[in-house]
Symmetry: C2
DNA sequence: TCAAAAGTTGACGTTTTGGTCAGGTTATGA
DNA sequence: TCATAACCTGACCAAAACGTCAACTTTTGA
């Protein structure tokens, strides 16, 4: 996911064992650029961002940004790559060997937490999808489809085992995605809806509790453990 | 919401009774521009669209677009205005005198139908919110807040009347918004999730059914046909 | 110590783009 | 018919934005 092939190749740190911490200038600069670009792309979309802005925000002169990344598009694509990793992580909670209520609750919490902590990444992803996913590679989309299918199978196994009522699993995924991303992606709307100025951790916790409660009850998920009250951590 | 004041004033159709159909060139041109611009803004965001594109797509030369709209921003704002009307319409379904199950179901259907029929408007709105709502006026936001509050009161009245279990009404709104907009706004993701090429009417119907089922059951909305007439606005 | 590699940067060139304008054509209404 | 208003448009401009470059400084490794 580094700048470009030739430059990445130059990095060969085996031949440069001087610093074990290896706080290479390159790494720091690339990170700074990526972070600045992430925030900006998230808020203004690909076309809305000037590399001069990225440069300014990352504290580097424009020409230096071009030293690390051959083009604006390359910066953007590098960020898209990072995104997809995070996308998967929450889904990992959905495993067939877990109790449905537990797994679904954990998924909702993880997804909300991800979008809370990585708000700008989440918005960047939303932005990209909204525009039709121009920059998503076929591999990216194949991976996402496969992931969805696998997790759908997990939930269908719970349904088959009578642990929850039969529903259109894939539509439920969409409900969950929509609900969990809303707070980060459409923060303005969420704030208006909640009649607050800024969304806090507490609001996210309430969101998790509400979404979990409705979805679990909505799917008639059986709660074997009589307790399992609110959806903490 | 027309181009600008002076130009709109000139329209004074009382003094020009020649055509009753009044298929004024102005009206057609403005509509063409707005439609073309809507599609483009939805897909590429404000900064991503060049007025040359709008011109081309609406079949007019660029300078002619400027004849009707003083600036790109004015075209964008005109569209935002149209959006908010649609936004309200679905919410009208939520009236205290209706039965909760009926009203909520109708709301979900109306919201989905709106985003299906006016996909590009929905995406444009999403785009605008994602970017922090730069072009939303204070009046716009005040209106939306007031609308949300009113409808929250309606649902809370149902809760108070024991017609559904107590939940965080405003978080439920967010769930509903997220779920109902997803299909239009994040079509790419929705297609991948549903393992289909394009979303059809049938998919929207299934979505409505699933969302309604989960939310109604999730909120323990009582389906008793008998009562549900204690609150009368 | 020192040459080569890595990193930095101000200034520049080219293209794009929002917006303007002067002058043309068509519709309107008396 | 004819004056006026509405409408249309090719050509143009200044600002901005992407990307380049040559020269400069710092770091590296032997």
């Amino acid at each position: 996911m580094a700048a470009s092939m030739d430059q990445a190749a130059r990095k060969t740190r085996a031949s440069r064992p001087s610093k074990d911490v290896d706080e290479r200038v390159r790494d720091r600069s690339e990170a700074a650029i990526l972070e600045a670009a992430g925030e900006l792309f998230a808020r203004k979309g690909f076309d809305g961002v000037r590399i001069a802005e990225i440069a300014e925000r990352s504290g580097l002169p424009k020409a230096n940004v071009y030293y690390y990344f051959p083009s604006k598009e390359d910066i953007y694509k590098a960020l898209i790559g990072k995104l997809l990793a995070g996308w998967d992580k929450a889904l990992e909670e959905l495993r067939a060997d877990r109790k449905p209520a537990e797994a679904l609750g954990a998924y909702i919490v993880a997804k909300l937490e991800y979008s809370r902590q990585f708000g700008s990444e989440s918005r960047l992803f939303a932005n990209e999808i909204l525009r039709g996913g121009r920059f998503l590679s076929k591999a990216n989309r194949d991976h996402m489809r496969a992931m969805t299918r696998d997790k759908a199978v997990v939930i269908e196994s719970w349904i088959a085992a009578g642990k929850m009522s039969p529903i259109s699993v894939r539509h439920v995924f969409i409900m969950l995605w929509g609900a969990t991303q809303f707070y980060a992606d459409f923060e303005v709307l969420a704030c208006d809806a909640l009649a607050i100025k800024r969304i806090t951790k507490k609001d996210f916790d309430e969101a998790a509790a509400t979404i979990t409660a409705i979805v679990l009850r909505g799917c008639n998920v059986v709660e074997s453990a009589a307790e399992a009250r609110s959806t903490d951590t």
